[in-house]
């Protein structure tokens, strides 16, 4: 086979070699290091990382606090549709609103995560499986949102726990500007789960508070 002689042909040949090598390498990679060529596990709608929504303040009962009204209108927590935002001004002093207009995906504090842990709510770890192996919240499920076997792992979680669409599921990653738990929450929302709690401060906060952790592979 004659070698390509002109620069554009050689550049094309380099690209072809790269595609071939990527095809071969990806075929033989372990599931944690493999990527699907088509159909990313990442949901199409993505909130920009770094642009954080302020998590709504929460009470001990897990219901959002309605902050003190400004200009006569109560401030509702985030994630509300516009129609709800302009809803009639609920009395701020009302004792425990019956149906909190909370969205299917909600940020929770470390305290609330701890209470959920004590009540046996399942925890999903959205970080990479290598990070999970280094340490994770005790009895959490490894569901690395960027890895190719995410669907299999989610399936085994569902098969074992049989979560109903209204059952709470806590999702966490590594805190800070980590978006993996949000990506996983959007994916699960698309699969029909409507009570997704994002433990925003994630694993570092859990460790800092001395909560139970485990090591090793799932």
């Amino acid at each position: 086979m004659p070698l390509p002689s002109s620069t554009p042909l050689r550049a094309l040949a380099l690209a072809g070699m790269a595609v071939t090598a990527a095809l071969i390498a990806n075929t033989f990679a372990s599931p944690a290091r493999r990527l699907a060529w088509v159909g990313s596990s990442v949901p199409p709608s993505i909130a920009a990382p770094g642009v954080e929504k302020i998590p709504p303040p929460v009470t001990g009962s897990g219901q959002p606090i309605v902050p003190e009204p400004k200009d006569g209108h109560p401030i509702h927590p985030g994630h509300l549709p516009p129609s709800r935002m302009t809803a009639s001004p609920a009395p701020a002093a009302a004792p425990a609103p019956e149906t909190p207009p909370s969205s299917p995906i909600r940020d929770i504090s470390a305290e609330e995560a701890w209470r959920a842990f004590q009540s046996g709510t399942p925890f999903l770890d959205a970080r990479r499986s290598s990070e999970f192996a280094e340490g994770h919240i005790a009895s959490a499920w490894s569901t690395p949102v960027w890895e190719s076997d995410l669907d299999d792992r989610l399936l085994s979680f569902k098969a074992a726990r049989r979560p109903g669409s209204e059952d709470p599921i806590v999702i966490y990653c590594s805190g800070g500007d980590c978006r993996d738990s949000h990506l996983l929450a959007e994916k699960l929302l698309g699969e029909g789960y409507f009570h997704l709690l994002i433990f925003h401060d994630g694993y570092p906060a859990w460790v800092a508070q001395g909560r139970p952790v485990e090591k090793g592979r799932p």
Partner: protein, 159 residues
């Protein structure tokens, strides 16, 4: 004076040193990414510039392209083609980084594999350094392209 500076800039020994250095940088950048395509896909996704369907193919192919171009530069084969790819990749990366700096959106470079958790200020500082490094590497790629172009022309004249 100018032709002399020119001669010095395009000296064969300097060109060889530059292309080997550039090649080594690209090999070093490629290896961690080849080892962890999902991590690189996440890094590209963070730039918020690549549409979803292109994300995974890009994360899979780009590191290998970097590796082959780096190897070609180090070994001295297909220098012009490899340097052209390298320059294109550097331009694209610089462009992506500039856009995110301009819209004040912190991203991890993703250049040499995964990064540790950083504060936003540290990330912006890192992005500026990356941009500077990118410009420096682009100069090196330009030198290699220019020198190999002159060589090709002189060879053409001899023939």
């Amino acid at each position: 004076m100018r032709p002399r500076l020119w001669q010095w800039l395009l000296h064969p020994k300097l060109t060889m040193a530059v292309r080997i250095a550039l090649g080594l940088v690209f090999i070093a950048a490629a290896l961690p990414k080849i080892g962890d395509p999902p991590g690189f896909a996440k890094a590209i996704w963070a730039y918020q510039l690549v549409p979803g369907p292109a994300l995974n193919p890009m994360a899979l192919v780009l590191p290998w392209l970097e590796l082959f171009c780096g190897l070609a530069l180090c070994l001295g084969i297909w220098i012009r083609a490899a340097a052209a790819w390298v320059a294109m990749m550097l331009l694209a990366f610089g462009f992506a980084l500039s856009i995110n700096l301009a819209r004040h959106h912190p991203v991890d470079c993703g250049c040499f594999g995964g990064a540790a958790q950083k504060t936003m200020a540290e990330q912006f500082a890192d992005m500026r350094w990356s941009l500077l490094r990118d410009a420096g590497l682009l100069l090196l790629a330009g030198q290699v392209l220019l020198a190999s172009g002159l060589k090709a022309r002189s060879v053409g004249q001899v023939e």
